[in-house]
Amino acid sequence: MFDAVMDSRPPDAAAVGTRPWPAPLRTDQAAALRLYLQAVAAYEQAAAAASSAQARPEIAPLRRVAQRVVDSLRDDSAPLLGLCTLKGLKTPPGRIVRTHGVNTMILAVALAQTAGLPRLVQVQVGLAGLLHDLGRDTGMAAAPHGIATVNALLRFRAIEDVAVLAVAALCHDATVAPAASSEDGVAAIVRIADAYDTLTAREGLDGSPDLVLAFLLRNRSAGFDAALVRCFARCLGMYPPGTAVQLEDGSVGLVMRAALPASPAGPLVRVCCKADGTPVAEDVWARSGVRVVTSVDAAAFGIDPAQFFAPRA
């Protein structure tokens, strides 16, 4: 049974079913990781400048990052979406660098692309996602974070550049502002991406991406735009990248690439444990068409998604 559903060949060689597997993931993943870390660094730089009396943050580097995220997601969304499983990076001195802004940017741009928004708008959406929590990282924590963020955004040189971002930051903070206006696309998108990344940061099964997605899809009262949430779900797939899942043969793996809509091939799953719990060290991929039974708590099976999405090679 195990052999029937597992394939140790690289995914692109296992072109079975109705679609070919995409190009080897590892190459794309390395480029995506580089971009992800650059985004984290650019955000950190901007946050440091915004909290400094001497320096002023620049929007141009952040816009460049957002542009590259737009291009990268357009080419292949899986690698960057997988990296959204990282919720922080712990530096050697023990400081934790938040990656929530970068994750929100990636998720928001992915949603904007699925919704068919123009490229330039996607960049604004990405920037709004990236900077929606800037106030929290600039030492302005005394104010509610939506307001702290708009104060931090005022440190940028041109108000024209940050006005849309400020509105999104205000609207996404439910503690200070009513839910985003139905016409305000950027704020509505950031709100969904922010909620998804926040909820998937929880420990245990509660933070399982598929459950969070189900919550967003079924919960109509939380101020999320229903049409956009459906778009978001179509973009991420039933089991979004980073979800630990149990396959029909009992083995457990990690979703590396979401299933394309209406595709019978299902998600691309990297098998991490056999049915008997034995860890699988080598690259073993579930074969196309194998049914996922349910999502599971990755930690309970000793699975570290970062090991697969952000290898330190």
């Binding site: 580089r34 870390l37 650059q38 660094a41 141009a60 580097p61 460049r64 542009q67 990282l86 919720k87 922080g88 934790i96 929530h100 919704a115 490229r119 960049v123 005394a142 104010a143 307001i147 702290a148 708009v150 041109a158 108000i159 024209e160 006005a163 849309v164 509105v167 609207c171 439910a174 503690t175 200070v176 502002a177 016409e183 305000d184 696309g185 909620a195 926040t198 940061a201 929880r202 509660d206 459950l211 997605l213 189900a214 919550f215 899809l217 079924r218 919960n219 009262s221 939380a222 049409a227 956009l228 459906r230 779900a233 179509r234 039933m238 349910t294 930690a299 570290d304 952000a310 330190r312």
Partner: protein, 633 residues
């Protein structure tokens, strides 16, 4: 050999002599080239704009030799001529002509380095042509490392490219080129633009779970209390299937323009500041609104603030007379000396955007509580110009509530009240007349003078009536100020009163000559047809012995005619300019000069009416022409 031109912008790192690494111009399928590269120097790095011509080898350039500036300029001229020829050559490939049209405008104003390309590499020398910063330097600074033009590009695409270049040179060039979405023009960037030290994962540890704050508690609670930890499972297809209205909904999604977004920004902050249930949040929002207001003032975008807080301000009750707490931080920031001065300079700037000025006035009008701090600020400003600038700001703040200014002024020492009276006049609204009427009856002569000056700024019949009363004031300076004010207000209802004083009042004859002259001039300035005819008649009333009051009347009539602004008055005055009466002759000459000046420049603005309050006791200084206000003495 096919004809065509390829333009490439490339980067030659670290070499200014052009030798070596700079030669990687991508010419696509171009044949072997003997052409030219035009480039410029930026510090010690060459960023080249290459213009490679391979039109069948027909294009030839004057060779550049050494550092001879004349030869260099000759090269530029030759290249430009080539482009001009290409632009008008019907046999040239279409995109060459288009390229020439796009590039010629900025070719004419760039710095260039002409570089000869041959088998051995580059030989370079500098060419200066115009003074504008080089485009290629801007490209390099923006991280652009290569621009490739493919053959057969469309005109629209080149236009988009050119437009992105021009737009980007004022801002983020890389973003502008990226946003232009060019299919046949490949723009390559370098990562180093953003990241001087690209981060490495190194010893970092990934964090999988995090709970950053309690602000998402509601969301987490909703999740926990929601449908339960159930995977979408079999419902998936139904859950994600687009609903009927989804396409329309998504099509309606829109991105606010910066002005819409900034307006929404200020309005949202104002609403939070005014209506949020938590005082701490209200205060934070108010402070943020103040910061935003200051930033918008700094970048001259107060329209956005006005559009944001305007609707809310109109619905905000002000029963207690105190500023709403949500506006207080904005008030505090706008009443700092630097910001008040900036606002005043905006009002003074005749080239300023009228919409922006109007918005600034309306924002200040929404902040009547600014009157007191701004008034206090004026007391500490030493220069007259500084007080004038500030007075414009105070006037705007007091425009909807002049009683605030009056109440404040009455508590101030005279020198401060004088400035505030002037400001009341600057408001120029009939609503301030009752306050000025009270001041016009003050026992203090100096207060009456200021009230008269302020009333002169107001175009209202009630103001003119009070000024007419002041024409009989016991004090000369008050009367003179009143008559100046009347001439400025242009209210014809004062004519009959003036006529009575001039021609019937015995007491008028005993007044100072300067005062009498100003009365006559004012009469002339306000004169209707009947008054004009009367002055002509008075001027013509010769007596055999021209002495006494009749002479004074003739002189006064001449001065009045000079202020009438009517061309026919010139002929009348000229018939009397050679009269034997020296004083009358002088009056006619002065009146003719004034009248000619007025006729030649009918829209000539009167000199600025700002002045320091008149010093009581000193006589007015006569100028070459009628002055509308007192000068500093």
């Amino acid at each position: 050999m096919p004809g065509g031109t390829v333009l490439a912008v490339f980067h030659a790192q670290g070499r200014t002599d052009g030798a070596g690494s700079g030669g990687t111009v991508r010419a696509g399928a171009a044949p072997a080239l003997t052409g030219w590269v035009m480039a410029d120097f930026h510090e010690d790095t060459t960023r080249a704009i290459a213009l490679l011509s391979f039109q069948g080898g027909a294009a030839s350039f004057t060779p550049v030799r050494g550092e001879d500036g004349a030869a260099e300029r000759s090269v530029v001229r030759t290249v430009v001529e080539l482009l001009e020829r290409a632009a008008s050559d019907p046999d040239a490939t279409p995109h060459v002509a288009v390229l020439a049209q796009v590039l010629l405008p900025w070719l004419a104003e760039q710095h260039f380095l002409a570089v000869q390309v041959d088998a051995r590499g580059f030989r370079a020398c500098r060419v200066a042509c115009g003074a504008a910063p080089a485009l290629s330097a801007a490209l390099a600074a923006a991280g652009v490392r290569e621009v490739l033009f493919k053959q057969g590009m469309a005109r629209e695409e080149l236009d988009r490219f050119a437009s992105a270049l021009y737009r980007g040179r004022r801002g983020d060039l890389a973003a502008a080129l990226w946003g232009a979405d060019l299919g046949s023009i490949v723009v390559r960037f370098t990562d180093e633009f953003c990241f001087t030290a690209p981060p490495r994962l190194g010893a970092w540890t990934a964090v999988q779970c995090a709970r950053w704050s309690s602000e998402q508690d509601d969301l987490v609670s909703a999740f926990d209390a929601g449908p339960g930890p159930a995977s979408p499972g079999v419902d998936w297809r139904n859950l994600v299937a687009p609903a009927t209205g989804d396409p329309a909904r998504l099509a309606r999604l829109r991105l606010d323009t910066p002005s819409e977004a900034a307006t929404r920004w200020s309005r949202t902050l104002a609403e939070i500041g005014a209506r949020h249930s938590e005082p701490v949040t209200r205060a934070a929002a108010a402070d943020a609104l103040g910061r935003l207001g200051e930033a918008l003032l700094d970048c001259h975008k107060l329209t956005w603030l006005h559009d944001g807080i305007g609707p809310l301000q109109r619905t905000e009750p002000d029963a207690t007379g105190q500023a709403p707490p949500w506006l207080e931080p904005l008030l505090d920031r706008f009443t700092t000396e630097a910001n008040a001065r900036a606002l005043g300079m905006l009002f003074e700037d005749r080239a300023a955007d009228a919409v922006e000025v109007a918005a600034a006035r309306q924002v200040l009008a929404a902040l009547p509580w600014a009157v007191e701090p701004l008034g206090a600020l004026m007391e500490h400003v030493d220069s007259m110009q500084g007080r004038k600038t500030l007075s414009l700001v105070v006037a705007a703040a007091a425009s909807r509530a002049p009683e605030r200014l009056v109440a404040y002024a009455e508590k101030q020492p005279l020198f401060a009240a004088q400035n505030l009276a002037y400001i009341l006049g600057r408001i120029g609204d009939a609503s301030v007349v009752p306050h000025l009427a009270r001041w016009a009856r003050s026992d203090d002569e100096r207060v009456r003078v200021e009230a008269a000056r302020a009333l002169g700024q107001i175009r209202a019949a009630s103001a003119a009536a009070i000024l007419c009363e002041l024409l009989d004031d016991p004090e000369s300076h008050v009367r003179q100020s009143a008559v100046w004010a009347l001439s400025r207000s242009g209210d014809l209802t004062a004519l009959s009163r003036l006529r009575t004083i001039l021609f019937e009042s015995k007491a008028f004859r005993d007044r100072r000559a300067e005062e009498r002259e100003d009365f006559f001039r004012t009469y002339g300035r306000l004169a209707d047809d009947a008054a004009f005819a009367e002055m002509v008649e008075r001027l013509g009333q010769r007596k055999f012995i021209s002495t006494g009051w009749n002479t004074e009347l003739r002189r006064g009539a001449a001065l009045g005619l000079g202020e009438s602004g009517r061309p026919e008055a010139l002929d009348v005055l000229r018939t009397h300019q050679n009269t034997r009466d020296a004083k009358l002759r002088q009056a006619c000459a002065s009146a003719i000069a004034v009248l000619e000046a007025r006729l030649s420049s009918p829209h000539l603005a009167d000199e600025d009416d700002w002045c320091e309050p008149a010093q009581i006791g000193a006589g007015p200084v006569d100028g070459s022409r009628f002055r509308l206000e007192a000068r500093d003495v």
